[in-house]
């Protein structure tokens, strides 16, 4: 136990003292800020921009629908001029379309709507443009068109125009609320999605980063032959445990510093970024500008959830770290590392591949299966449970599976480590590895 402490202390202190740890700790929050705040900031600037409404509306309906749509788009995005609505007869439509296409080609406009008898008959609207492939752009425009077609139909049925505007003018938004095992929970919005993504990404990132540090550390001990001196004083099991725990704590230290620094930045820098005001006023201003502060606080997990996420991190880290350590003990040269660590990396990468599908559909059978498989559960279950309520029995099975996998990984790795650490030369084949595991009793 004392020796475990000595090994643990060395692994921890040598890493925390290094230049790279300091640089990584300081730059981490900046990096995360870059990948989260900057895109948000850019999109905030851009959304009402002339990109979206720099279009032409070709109105061959003869009902003035084009002018209505143009007017509404103009009020919705007041910072840019309303799109031009051209009223024309159906016969001249194809000519007008040709010239509009030319205008798009010359980059004068982004695209154009074609409103004709089909639109009035509630069949379809055509949008032609450079951004026709962008679902969000077309949706934003279409909601206005749809609203106006409806308004026009209501007016034609005899409703008062002012009343129609009042009735259809509201923009309805969804406020989601999650229900878990204990009833209503906070969150469920966009903030949740971002948080879930951040957690899963961070888990993956830390496991890869620090798992590889363990691999390199073991390889260094092996190739510099320090290992022999050390294992003459401590058992390989103690050495392995001290290493995994020491490096694990470095990872935790790093994340805690990141969170601390990020929160500090949020409170002291955000007001500066979003207007030079006192913190409270800054938050209010940020909220006024549509920053989802509510969503952010709502997305923060409860204590219990945080505990479970932490448990997944600890178990997942131990699982992958001991496998990485075994790989480090297997190889004697840098060239072999890539190939030898491939199986472990494949398990990690396959978890990440499923992040997208699970993010969009966290309740699907795929999501359930992947969050139960021990090697992907440590990354995908925290992702899933940040999005939806996961039944306790699934959590239990998943965590239990990861714990079992952990024990198995430690058992196998400790054996490979014990033999491999003092074996130099060629990378072992699977057959040899199997023999190591068997005979290292």
């Amino acid at each position: 136990m004392r020796k475990l402490g000595v090994v643990f202390k060395r692994e921890y202190l040598e890493r925390v003292r290094s230049k790279w740890f300091l640089v990584g700790t300081l730059l981490g929050p900046l990096f995360f800020a870059m990948i989260t705040v900057v895109p948000t900031w850019i999109s905030m600037r851009q959304r009402p921009g002339n990109d979206l409404t720099n279009i032409v509306i070709l109105d061959a309906t003869g009902t003035g629908l084009g002018a209505r749509v143009s007017k509404i788009l103009g009020t919705r995005y007041p910072s840019v001029p309303a799109p031009e609505a051209k009223t024309l007869s159906p016969e001249r439509l194809s000519v007008a379309e040709d010239s509009a296409v030319n205008a798009v080609v010359r980059k004068e406009i982004n695209g154009f709507f074609v409103l004709d008898s089909n639109t009035v008959a509630n069949r379809y609207v055509r949008y032609v443009g450079r951004n026709a492939g962008s679902i969000s752009d077309v949706d934003a425009l279409m909601s206005t068109v749809r609203q106006q077609v409806l308004a026009q139909r209501l007016e034609r049925e005899g409703l008062d125009a002012a009343r129609v505007t009042a009735l259809t003018g509201d923009r309805l938004e969804t406020r989601k609320e999650r229900i878990g095992d204990k009833g209503r929970e906070k969150g469920g919005g966009l903030g949740n999605l971002a948080f879930a993504y951040l957690v899963a990404f961070l888990l993956y990132f830390m496991i890869v980063l620090y798992g590889q540090q363990i691999l390199r550390g073991v390889m260094e001990e092996k190739t510099t032959r320090v290992a022999e001196v050390v294992v003459s004083s401590v058992s390989t099991d103690t050495l392995l445990a001290g290493k995994v725990l020491g490096v694990g704590l470095v990872a935790v230290t790093q994340v805690v510093s990141w969170v601390g620094l990020s929160l500090g930045m949020l409170f002291y820098l955000a007001p500066i970024l979003f207007g030079k005001m006192a913190p409270e006023a800054g938050a209010a201003a940020a909220a006024a500008r549509g920053l989802p502060t509510d969503a952010i606080t709502a997305a923060l997990p409860t204590l219990g959830t945080s505990g479970i996420i932490f448990a997944y991190f600890v178990l997942g880290f131990i699982f992958y770290a001991s496998l990485f350590a075994a790989v480090g003990a297997m190889v004697s040269s840098q060239e072999d590392v890539q190939q030898a660590s491939m199986p472990v990396m494949l398990m990690l990468i396959s978890s990440v591949i499923f992040m997208g599908p699970i993010l969009t559909n966290p309740g699907s059978p795929l999501a359930r299966i992947m969050s139960l498989i021990p090697f992907s559960a440590p990354i995908l279950m925290p992702l899933r449970m940040s999005l939806i309520g996961v039944p306790w029995y699934e959590l239990t099975i998943s965590l239990g599976g990861v714990a079992l996998a952990c024990v198995a990984a430690i058992w196998i790795s400790a054996r490979i480590y014990r033999v491999g650490l003092l074996m130099y030369g060629k990378r072992p084949s699977f057959k040899e590895l199997a023999r190591w595991v068997r005979y290292a009793g």
Partner: protein
Amino acid sequence: MTDLAIDIRNVVKRYAEHVAVRDLSLAVPRGSVYGLLGPNGAGKTTTIRMILNIILPDSGSIQLLGKSNRDSGVTDRIGYLPEERGLYKKMQVRRVLKFLAELKGVDGAEAEKRINYWMEHFELKTAEKDWGLSKIDELSRGMQQKVQFIGTLIHDPDLVILDEPFSGLDPINAQALKDTVVQLKERGKTVIFSTHLMDNAERLCDSVCIIAHGDKVLDGAVADVKREAGTRVVALSVAGEARDAIAPILADRSLVSRADDQNRYYEIELATGADAQVLLQRVIATGAPILRFELVQPSLHQIFLERVGAKGVEEGMSGQG
């Protein structure tokens, strides 16, 4: 309490392809300097690793200082210098030494004190420069070896195990190592080292064990080993121009079983039943001017060659240091 520092009984270690150590028994008395001799690949390193419980023997028992070598209390009383040297390259010298000391149960403050003593002893800390604050990879090879040696002794072990300690040492460091071994012995410590350099072994060791191909060839106190080998060896030196004249005598197998040309003299092993006086008369008869004719005890090197034979020397035995 037993008076044996190391008590190995019937130890066997097999690998998939070959037997590394075959039924080896060794008894190393406390307070002695013990040499484990043998050509490369004889099983010395395997034996040492088994002593240190780094690898497990297939059968047999190993006791150190009267206890099983798996006893963690025993592990802390052993200092080990492996054949392949190595330290954490990016770590500060003092921190490496402190780590090694703490692994052996020396507490921090005491470790600092000892590091200071040893750093000064080996001139790694002088008025001009304290290498203790440098990283390992900023040190020269010679200095790194000193650091490694300090790491072996930092916890004041009762049993010091050195695997090929002289390989790669320059003459000054080699002398420092020999001095330290003698000091350790004077303080009642037991030192066991492996080497294939017979000269060093002969000068330093109280007792030796010669192994080859995993088998023990002989063991015992150096004086006994040499006495048993008998005074069948003659050192003969003649003036340079007469060397050709005595060649036929040396080739006479009824008189000389082997003549080892040491350049300045011949180390001659008499054939069984041959008389040294007859040899002397024959040499005088040639008229060669004799510079030296001496009945000597055989050197360990001689004994080693005789007992292990040419077959033991095949795998890169690098001679007689």
